[in-house]
């Protein structure tokens, strides 16, 4: 019975390995859920209006102001709570833009792999090769500082990866027999793509979407930190920007001015990345 014993051990090991993605996925969901909760209920959760000068500038944390105040006397806690709205909004909308472009390009390039497809994929290669941050900065500076521009710039830069993933799936789908069957029935290409190809890429697209959100949140923070975000909207990145300009990085104020937004950026990105990881494990278990 030694054989069955070792088999049982192997089975247990397998189960443990397959449980890890689920645990991480749940952790990601909890993080993202908490952030969304904060963002939606910001007006009720925040103790002050973040645009009101409610106290003296540069106050250290106290009972009234848990994270102190910034250089113009805004409550930092309220600012960070409201900041989650911008970060999440930019992340979600920019990822949607990226996914729309990526899916269209991926599906078209995969379904017509010859001339059209290879031309499109060379475009994708160019986007992937371009130095990311410098391009982002140039574009953002050129287009001007507004929330919409931030979303567009980020969306335009991160669609290439979903496009590649979806193209590879479509390449395999297009030679499936049920796609051939639809074509043999006399279905026009548009019919085949919308009925048989796109629905089958949905699962894969979900995975890329969540990962794109994680990336977009980081990029938004980077842009805002460089002072290229929307000047009216307070995001975590712009809080860091002001902390940097006012020298908070060098004073004890970093503990309440720099650390909290920095950790939140990391946490938000991590939350989405964990969900994406667990989704991918489920979609493609060989990964």
């Amino acid at each position: 019975m030694t054989a069955s014993g070792s088999e049982r051990r192997a089975a247990r090991r397998m189960r443990r390995r397959s449980r890890l993605p689920t645990i991480l996925g749940v952790a990601g969901l909890v993080i993202v859920g908490a952030l969304v909760f904060t963002a939606v209920l910001a007006p009720w959760l925040a103790p002050y209006d973040p645009t009101d000068r409610i106290a003296r500038p540069f106050l250290p944390p106290s009972a009234e102001h848990l994270l102190g105040t910034n250089d113009v006397g805004h409550d930092l806690l309220s600012e960070i709570i409201y900041g989650s709205r911008v970060s999440l909004l930019v992340g979600l909308v920019a990822a949607t833009v990226a996914l729309l472009i990526g899916t269209s390009v991926g599906v078209v390039a995969g379904y017509y792999p010859k001339r059209l497809g290879s031309t499109l994929m060379r475009g994708v290669d160019v986007i992937l090769i371009l130095p990311f941050l410098p391009l982002l900065i140039v574009l953002a500076a050129y287009l001007g500082r507004s929330l919409l521009n931030t979303i567009l710039v980020i969306g335009l830069l991160i669609w290439a990866e979903p496009a590649r993933i979806i193209r590879s799936q479509v390449l395999s789908l297009r030679s499936r027999e049920y796609v051939l069957a639809a074509r043999s029935m006399g279905a026009p290409d548009r019919w085949t793509i919308l009925r048989h190809i796109v629905p089958r890429t949905a699962l894969l697209a979900t995975g890329s979407f969540v990962r794109a959100v994680s990336g977009a949140i980081l990029l938004e923070a980077a842009l805002s930190f460089l002072g290229l975000g929307d000047p009216i909207q307070k995001s975590w990145g712009s809080t860091l920007y002001w902390a940097q300009t006012r020298g908070a990085f060098l004073t004890p104020a970093w503990k309440w001015w720099v650390l909290p937004p920095g950790l939140l950026i990391m946490l938000a990105s991590l939350g989405f990345a964990l969900i994406a990881f667990s989704l991918e494990e489920r979609i493609n278990p060989r990964l």
Binding site: A3, R176, E177, Y178, L180, A181, A182, R183, S184, M185, G186, A187, P188, D189, W191, R195, H196, P199, R200
Partner: protein, 696 residues
């Protein structure tokens, strides 16, 4: 116990030979998370040394599972095995993993259906053959290689010395199966289990493999258990046969008794539903209704009851046991076996209504293909040169006539599927024309292709698994806007009843249906577009034997009713004979012979047609096979077809200096009969013709 039996003096050598393999009351069930599948329920059988035992059954009958348990290859869990399996008296069940490893390969070896997936693609063939010698015999690397060459030579691989270092992908399908057999024989096992070894192969190659196994068996004094779904293949070589159904043996006995004095309605139905070349063509094949099923609860009645014409009193009461019904261990598990009349009354062949009318109609060509060429370029190297091409279809001309069926037959790689796909615009022709109703057509796919529809080989993969059957069938209606939204449902119900499925099946998904039912759904979908021509690409070759006849009959019925034309593509001449009015034989992208059905089968003119016809197995034991001409080798690569007549490399009657240099053209020998062979219509003025006295 072996010692006792072995020492005992044999009185009658045939009767008391000690058995090599004894299986007693074997039960195998798979405990899956959702259900328990009872794959084998109480199987007992014996195999004597150097005997050929055929285990016949449809998919899911438990034939492979019972032999996998003999090999000790079932992993438990999920399999739960009970009973007893003894090889030379040693119990196999419960053997330790170490002893099992010694026993496999040395005592018992197995050959599987798909040789490509059984061979490791990254190791050289010779090394894989030598592997078991190195494991079991501990021979040196050089010795193993020498043995591998000897074995490859023995199983008929030409110039084995040069091929021993090839990789599996460099071998053709038939050669791979030969290599698998060589591997199985390496340690000279006593028992060889062959699990559908010829099912994935062409008919001509299948005949070669059957011959090879027969020779080797005599030479090595092997016992062979041949698992198959086809009673035809094993008739020539089996000494004894067991027919399995739903995990039980329904009938077993000497091959001659089982085939000639069948005592179980299922065996007789299986035999009747094999399309035969040596019987007259009736318009319908005898069919067994229903489909084989999966056993999930313990059997308490005859499992064949609901499909059986003899079903009656007592069949539902108890599980019938195998009872002796004749001499030589002929046993049948049917309580009504004494009522069995001749097979023809048990399983009658019907007639198709209104078939005669279509034959008298004026000839009305729907699709006309002229000089069609489909070449696929081989792109290779950095320069992406496209100098070479696979000539899948190379100059094919044919007509499809309304209300009639054109059969296209050929081995794999002959271009028959590409031809069919070109007709429904799935591949783009590189030359020639396709006209539908006299109008040359655009090679692009799209709505204008409504009149030609296709039925695929594997119905399951040809349906979007996420769509309900209703949407699958309604798809052509929606594409071509043949019915408005409200009427779609009614039309689908109508189509479902037309193909013999319950009208409310539309709510379910394709995976809930059996193979035969899925092919019916595919037929309904093809009909939904109201086509004038239906191209059927091997529509029955993925189905069980008993279900094949149902689908063939359905197609014939529908053709009689709707007057549609059909193109029936198959690798099997016997199946094509039952449905076709005209038959074209393809070889390496060309049509070599085309004739009205009865002429072609009664008097084949082209040597390739003759060879194909002779390779079709006949389900008669002791059938005289000696006068057959067997084709040697495999189909050459269509990327580099032989010069002259493409068939000359395998042709048994090729004329030196003529067939290898001059390409024969397809000529009309008698009205409606086209042959492309120098021996039938000799080219005028060629020296070889005069020399051989071939000219008129």
């Amino acid at each position: 116990m072996t010692a006792g039996t072995a020492v005992a003096p044999p009185r009658d050598p045939a009767a008391v030979r000690p058995n090599l393999l004894e299986i007693e009351n074997l039960f195998v069930r798979f405990e899956l998370p959702t259900e328990t599948v009872r794959a084998v329920s109480g199987v007992s059988l014996t195999v004597a040394p150097s005997e050929t035992f055929a285990l016949v059954g449809e998919s899911g009958s438990g034939k492979s599972v019972s032999m996998l348990s003999v090999m000790g290859l079932l992993s438990s869990p999920p399999a739960v095995i009970s009973g007893s399996i003894r090889l030379e008296g040693r119990e196999v069940l419960g053997m330790s993993a170490r002893r099992l490893r010694k026993y496999r390969g040395k005592d018992v070896a197995m050959v599987f259906q798909e040789p490509m997936s059984s061979l490791n693609p990254v190791h050289r063939v010779g090394r894989q053959i030598g592997e078991s010698l190195r494991i079991h015999r501990g021979v040196s690397r050089a010795e193993a290689r020498r043995q591998a060459i000897r074995l490859l030579d023995r199983v008929g691989i030409p110039s084995a010395k040069n091929r021993v270092d090839d990789y599996p992908h460099e071998f053709s399908g038939g050669m791979r199966q030969r290599a698998m057999i060589a591997m199985a024989l390496a340690c000279e096992p006593k028992l060889l289990i062959a699990d559908e070894p010829t099912t994935a192969l062409d008919v001509t190659v299948q005949a070669q493999i059957v011959d090879l196994v027969r020779e080797l068996q005599a030479e090595y004094r092997l016992a062979v258990v041949w698992i198959t779904h086809d009673l035809g293949v094993v008739a020539e070589i089996a000494d004894r046969v067991a027919v399995m159904y739903a995990g039980r043996i329904l009938e077993t006995g000497q091959a001659s008794d089982l085939y000639r004095a069948t005592r179980h309605p299922y065996t007789s139905g299986l035999l009747r539903s094999i399309p035969r070349l040596d019987r007259s063509v009736t318009t319908r094949l005898a069919e067994i209704p229903g489909a084989p099923f999966r056993v999930v609860s313990e059997l308490a009645a005859c499992p064949f009851d609901d499909r059986c014409p003899l079903a009656g009193e007592g069949c539902q009461d108890a599980l019938p046991e195998l009872d002796t019904v004749g001499h030589g261990g002929h046993r049948s598990a049917c309580i009504h076996h004494h009522q069995m009349g001749p097979a023809s009354t048990l399983w009658p062949e019907g007639t198709v209504a209104g078939d005669q009318a279509s034959a008298d109609q004026a000839i009305d060509t729907v699709v006309s293909v002229r000089d069609l060429q489909v070449h696929f370029p081989i792109v290779r190297g950095l320069s992406r040169s496209r100098r070479r091409a696979i000539r899948a279809v190379d100059g094919v001309s044919l007509d499809v006539v309304r209300g009639q069926t054109l059969g296209i037959v050929g081995e794999s790689g002959c271009g028959k599927t590409t031809l069919g796909r070109a007709m429904v615009a799935l591949v783009r022709p590189t030359g020639g024309t396709i006209e539908i109703n006299g109008k040359p057509i655009n090679h692009r796919s799209g709505r204008h292709r409504r009149v030609v529809q296709m039925i695929f080989q594997d119905p399951f993969s040809a349906m979007n698994p996420g769509m309900r059957v209703e949407d699958v069938i309604a798809e052509p209606l929606r594409i071509h806007r043949l019915a408005d939204t409200a009427a779609v449902r009614d039309r689908v119900t109508e189509l479902l009843t037309q193909v013999g499925l319950p009208g409310d099946s539309g709510e379910r998904y394709p995976h809930e249906f059996s193979g035969g039912q899925r092919q019916r759904i595919a037929v309904a979908r093809a009909l939904a577009a109201d086509p004038e021509v239906v191209v059927c690409d091997e529509p029955v070759s993925s189905l069980d034997v008993s279900v094949q006849a149902q689908v063939i009959n359905l197609l014939a019925d529908l053709q009689a009713r709707t007057g549609m034309a059909m193109v029936f593509i198959a690798h099997d001449l016997a199946v094509v004979r039952h449905v076709s009015h005209e038959v074209g034989v393809m070889y390496l992208g060309e049509i070599v012979e085309k004739a009205p059905r009865d002429q072609l089968y009664a008097d084949p003119l082209h040597p390739y047609t003759k060879a194909l016809l002779e390779a079709v197995p006949v389900p008669e034991p002791d059938y005289d096979t000696t006068r057959r001409t067997r084709l040697t080798g495999d189909v050459p690569s269509p990327a580099d077809p032989p010069s002259g007549c493409r068939f000359h490399t395998r042709c048994p009657v090729a004329v030196e200096g003529l067939c290898s240099t001059v390409k024969p053209s397809l000529e009309e020998v008698t009205p409606g009969r086209w042959v492309s062979c120098h021996l039938v219509s000799p080219p005028a003025g060629h020296p070889a013709v005069a020399h051989l006295g071939l000219g008129e």
